[in-house]
């Protein structure tokens, strides 16, 4: 089973990287870009077919290692069924 986990800076926290990318997009002519958040994406292959269990394990992976909940949010996509976490 393939899952995609996306980790990105929390909304309320300044993302200097995203800001620099937004400004660069403006400089090369892409007007109208209001905000960019720069994050990371993980493609994870899991054994088994139990989606419920996989969702729980991925949640735990995010909390324990893939994201730092102090400054990052995450979302989990198990192919069609997306879940999000990390936001209060």
């Amino acid at each position: 089973m393939k899952a995609t986990v996306t980790v990105y800076p929390r909304r309320e926290i300044l993302d200097p990287q995203g800001k620099a990318i937004r400004e660069a997009l403006g400089r090369i002519g892409f007007t109208g870009v209001e905000d960019v958040r720069a994050g990371k994406s993980f493609e994870i292959e899991l054994a088994g077919e139990d989606r419920e269990a996989a969702g729980r394990v991925l949640e735990e992976m995010c909390r324990k290692l893939l994201a730092n909940p102090v400054v990052e949010d995450y979302s989990i996509d198990l192919g069609g069924r997306a879940g999000a976490g990390g936001a209060p």
Partner: protein, 240 residues
Amino acid sequence: MRCGVVVFPGSNCDHDVYHVLKHVLGQETSFLWHADTSLAGVDLVVLPGGFSYGDYLRAGAMAALSPLVAAVRRHAEAGGLVLGICNGFQVLLETGLLPGAMRRNRDLRFLCRDVYLRVERDDLPFTRGYEKGEVLRLPIAHAEGHYEDTEENLDRLEAAGQVVFRYVSPRGEASRMVDPAWNPNGSARAIAGVANERGNVLGMMPHPERAAEQVMGSTDGLALFAGAVGLGAEALEMAR
């Protein structure tokens, strides 16, 4: 005092810290390998600067899960002294032994320069060689030193007196906290170093080990190590 300096793959300030503890202050000092599970009976553990595990995922994230750091956690929880410098501070944040997190520097650049720090606490083992309000000049060398936490947590940190060092002007002014000249990485509330509630764990971004001998241009950092190993003012003066 028996001192241990942790070596992760990618640590690069381990020998500097070892030199200061062993040769400048004359303490019994050894290196501790990240894959070991025991601290070999040391009293003070130092997590040095560098790029542990290549800064994979997030600075300090992989090192925080190493076998030795589990022993460091037990040591800290039992009241033992733990000092994290630069990458070592990032590791302590990732373990949760200290609150908050590090982000990329405000200007996204790696910064290598001297900064001015104000000592906010002089009652900790690490800071007893200083006076509250004293201004130190120490070098920084980092890309991810922008300390961040929620406003609520920052208020709690301040109220509990856990802010130990703050970036200030050469005259110790913190009123211009967001002036890039004095808060180089954009840290929340100009925070450069924090301790846990108990005061036995300290993390700081600046490098006291790089300012510990006259030949390095400053000895402002030496009192931190002297305090941690329990040397008084007289012994510190001798070492200088």
